[in-house]
Each structure stands twice: as C-alpha cells, then as structure tokens.
Amino acid sequence: MANLTMREAVNLTLHQEMARDSNVIVLGEDVVGGMGTAGGPEAIGGIWKATIGLYDKFGAGRVLDTPISEAAIIGAAAGAALTGKRPVAELMFADFIGVCLDQIWNQIAKFRYMFGGRTRCPVVIRITYGAGVNAAAQHSQAPYALMTAIPGIKVVMPATPADAKGLLTTAIRDDDPVLFFEHKALYAIKGEVPDGDYMIPFGHAKLVREGKDATIVTCGQMVGFAERAADALARDGIACDVLDLRTTSPLDEEAILDSVEMTGRLVIVDESPPRCSLASDISGIVGNQAFAALKAPIEMVTAPHSPVPFARELEKAYLPSPAGIEAAVRKTLGYRSERRG
C-alpha cells in the first residue's frame, strides 16, 4: 500500500502498464510538455501531471505529444488500436468531447459492430471532468451520461485513488474501448493504493456505506458527497447503503436492485443536469425492475438544467451538495404511501 493522490495513482498505473505491455502508448496535448521549446521535453510533464515521467522512461515513440486537434487525437488512437496498439489518449477536459464526438461515437464505439465482430479497438480515453474549480461553462461539465448512452463503449468513473489504479489497469487491458473519467476536483485527494498488479472488474459497484433505511447510488466526485450525507444521517440514526457504481457502462444493476429491494427507498446523485441523465437512467431501470419494492418515489439529486456558472456562489448552487443529498434521503424516508394499486 502507498498513500497516493488520484493523480499519482493514474500516473503510477500508466507507468506500470507501459512497462508491462509495449503495445501501450500514450498520446494527447502536452502529455509530454515542452516539445519544441528551450526548456525541452518533459519540462512540464503534462498539464494534469498524470503523464509525468512517461516520456523520459518510454520515449517519443510511445508517448506522443500532439497538436491541439482532439478529433485527430482520438482518431489516431482509433487507428492505432485497430492495428494492434493499446492507446491511452488524454482528453484534457470532458467538454472537448464536443470537438471529437464523432471519433468516439461513430467510429471507436461502432467499429467492431459495423465490421461484423471481426476487429477490436482497445482504446482508452482518459477524460478530466467535472465542476468545483470555477472553470465555468466550457470546462466543468460531467457528460458521462452522454457516453453511457453509447453502445459499444464502456464508461469508468473512479472515486478514489485505489479505484483509479484498479480500474485503469482493467481499462488498459480490456479489449473494448473504455472512457475513463477523472474528476479534476479529486486529483489531489489522497488514499491508500494497493501495490503491484491491481485490477478491479467492471460492472461491480462498491458498497461504501451500509444501511437498511435507504439506498444512495452515485459515482465519481459525488461518492464523497454522498458519504458525507450518509455520515450526517447516521448521526441521526438513519443508515444508508451508499453504492459507488465505479462503472456506469456496464452498470451493476444487481447491486442496485438488491439494495433497493432491501431498503425500498432510493436516492440517485448525479453531477450532471437532470434531463436524460444517469440519474434518470437508473431511476428508469429501478422503477421498472424493483417496482414492488419501492416504498417511496425515487429521488434524483442532480445539477439544475443550466450550464455551469463561473462565480463561486453560483457554482456552489449548481453542484449537488451533501446537504441536498441528506434532504433527499429525509424526503424519501418521510414519504407515506398512498398508492392506489
């Protein structure tokens, strides 16, 4: 075990996987840093420092610093994957999916299907996402629902440094394309990270708090928020299951349904705006498959239907909060059934 930030955990995993498999390559904007400058390569080591040291260790052939051309970055990753590599592309901000969606949605996600199963495209796209650092409307979004909606890709949402390592290892070794979302507000959070080879299977949610009164389902940055809410509720004797999904595609329906069948009450916490969101997705599945078990309406705690604002006060109002989650749990607990049925 080592005590690492999520940023360090990601970096360590990239080092380990590149050392393990010479087909793993890394590409993106400033993933080296300092190319073509007096300071020289690795002078900065990646804007997020997640790729630091890779260039020194593995060289320019496997660590490719690219121009500002996201569509070409993701497309190049696709082409390298179709021809035997395991590229790990970095998208500096999730909002930039806007300029490269085609390569994710219409190319990478569909190759295997369109080609009748006769190819594989093991691309990993690491994407920094989320609000909380006042980066405003075009650098703060959390578009994991948009990605979860796409058949053909897997979507990973680590909430801790250990999970970042375990899930990124799995992602890199996976033969399907994987989108790996790293929350920028979590980069500096520290945690114990297992040494050596560490893989976490996809599609298995993690129970981070246990309790029979209500179920809270969430992922990414919101896991910590939900834990704070659960801890506050626990002080009032209210015990919640808190499920960290870890991956939203595949989704661990079993774990969610098992918990809801026990508690009868569900709160879903989602950092994105509400419409066609992961919150509504899970609500739809649970409402359909655990209908009889539900003792109260499913509550969804999401961002509002608005872009992400800049000012501190506004961004705070935008993001779901531990207090908001707590209130939602109390609301669902306060519900008294008047169902006709």
Binding site: L27, G61, D102, R112, F115, R118, R120
Partner: protein
C-alpha cells in the same frame, strides 16, 4: 512502363473487377434487393488500383463512403463483399456494415466510412503503429474533393507532419462533392497546395490514367517507406454514376457522363496503352473480362440466395465482453 506482364494483368483484372462489381450493383439496386445508400466507384478504378498495387498486404488503407473499389483493390473477398451489400449473414461484415462500412481489417482495409473526413486521423493512427513496430508499413487514407474541406482532414495532415509518420493522403478529385462542384467548395481549388502548406511533399497526377497513378504512387510509397514521413497525392479522376444510386444528376452538363465514359475511362485507356505497346493483346484482356464477369455473376447468384442474419444477431458484436 516498368511493369511486368503479370503486374499488368493483375492491375487490369483488379480494375475490371471493380468496374463490373459497380456496374452490376447499379442494375441490382434497381431490383430493390439491395437496401440502403450505395455510392459507386466506377470511373475511379485507376486510383484504387494504382494505389493498392503499390502496397503490400500488410500496409493499411482507410476508405470513404465510396469504398467498394478500395476494398477490392486491397484484396477483400468479392463474394463476401457482395453478400455484405445484400445484407447477408455471412457477408464480409455479417450484414451489419453494408456499403458504407465495408471492411476487412485482416487485409489492412480499415473500413469504408460513412462520415466524410473521419478516415484521415484513423490513418494517422495506423501509421503510428507502423512507425512504432518499425515494420516499414505505410498507411493510406483516401479522401474526396469534398472531404478535403472537413476539419479532421486538416488536423490529420498537420498531425502526420508533427509526428513524422508514414501516412499517404490520397485525394481523389472527381470534381463533385455530392451535387456541388469542387471549384465552388474548395477555396483555392488546389487540394495538394493545402497539404503542402502543412509541410509535406505532394504529388499531382491523372487519376484516370493507371500508369500515371502507378508511377506516382511508386515514388510516393518509396518516399514514405524510406523517410517515414507523410505525403499527399492529388489525383484528377471522374465518377461515372451519380453521387449515390438514385441521384438524378441534374448538375451534370449535357452529355457529360457519356463524354467522360468516352474520353476518361481508365479501362479503355489501359487497354489502348498495353495493346498498342504490344504488352498484352485484346484476346488476353477479353479473357480476363470473361473471368471477371463470371466472378461477379457468381457473387450475385450466391448473395441472392444466401441466408439473412437472425434477429438475435442484432445484439452480437457490440462488445467483446460486457
């Protein structure tokens, strides 16, 4: 001409196969048996074949929405292709891809592509693999005069220069993007000049002339293999059918297609050249024609009766494991 007799025969057979494949599709489509959007390559055969005859089986190509010619030229199985277009279970892509996504990665054919401009960055990626593996392979991306206005094409050219990878941008200028003339839609009209502005070497040639194309491609492929650098080629060519099957082609000048078929047919030109130079004779070429026609006949006959996919297959091949 530096080509052996075998090479000439092969080139002719390939071009002829593409031509007959497309001509036959054109009539089959009228019968209503073939669904979807189909873009025929007839007229441009000298490009696909002139390029691919200079590649090995291991080199990579990425194609466009108009992909049958590139597929055949790269060695894809013609019968499996036909079945794919008929939407059959044992089509090249199990009936899932169809005309716009026909592919055979095992042949280095990384797919037709329904998104104009999407192929160019993917070709850069294949060239990254080639460079890293140090196997001397090159990667070719075909783009039209329309595709050369799509942002991805430019990004890919710049990235290829920056990363110094052996990708060849082949621009097939057939003067139309859908129903729009290239003089209208391509700023300066000069596609190769754009590639040049990114700092790569460019070539220009007559894409309706197999020998010109072949000659240029020999140089280009040699250049890219030895330097590991990208290059671009603009080839002037013609499409003989509409943009897609069903296109009334009112944007064409009166008699334009007939004139092109008379004056700019790469097959006619090839035959004239090899016969007049006494390299092959008409009887030999006619023999190939017969064989090709038989191949296409068989492929169609096969495809017609081949079984369709099962409904349950809709959910197969989305993931390797999920």
């Amino acid at each position: 001409m530096q080509l052996s007799r075998e090479q000439l025969i092969r080139a002719y057979r390939q071009m002829k196969t593409i031509r007959e494949f497309e001509e036959r599709l054109h009539t089959e489509i009228q019968t209503g048996q073939i669904a979807g959007f189909t873009h025929l390559y007839a007229g441009q055969e000298a490009v696909a074949v002139g390029v691919c005859e200079n590649l090995t089986n291991e080199d990579y190509i990425i194609s466009t929405h108009r992909g049958h010619g590139h597929c055949i030229a790269k060695g894809c199985d013609v019968r499996a292709m036909m079945k794919e277009l008929f939407g059959r279970r044992d089509g090249l892509c199990k009936g899932k891809g169809g005309s716009m996504h026909i592919a055979d990665v095992s042949k280095g054919m990384l797919g037709a592509n329904g998104i104009v401009g999407a192929g160019a960055p993917i070709a850069v990626g294949a060239a990254i693999s080639a460079k890293l593996d140090g196997n001397g392979r090159v990667s070719v991306t075909f783009s039209g005069d329309g595709a050369c206005n799509q942002g991805t094409t430019f990004e890919a050219m710049n990235m290829a220069v920056v990363l110094k990878v052996p990708v060849i941008f082949v621009f097939e200028n057939n003067h139309y993007s859908e129903h729009t003339g290239h003089k209208y839609a391509v700023g300066s009209g000069d596609i190769a000049a754009r590639a040049e502005a990114f700092g790569m070497r460019v070539w220009r040639g007559n894409g309706s002339d197999f020998f010109d194309t072949d000659q240029i491609m020999r140089e280009v492929v040699e250049y890219c293999r030895t330097t590991g650098l990208p290059a671009a080629v603009e080839l002037d060519t013609e499409r003989f059918f509409g943009h897609f099957e069903g296109d009334p082609q009112r944007y064409r000048g009166a008699g334009e297609v007939n004139r092109l078929r008379q004056e700019r047919d790469c097959l006619t030109a090839f035959r004239a050249a090899v016969v007049s130079a006494n390299l092959l004779d008409d009887a030999q070429l006619d023999g190939i024609d017969v064989e090709v026609l038989k191949l296409i006949d068989d492929a169609v006959a096969d495809a017609r009766v081949a079984p369709p996919p099962e409904a349950s297959q809709v959910l197969e091949d989305v993931y390797i494991s999920y």
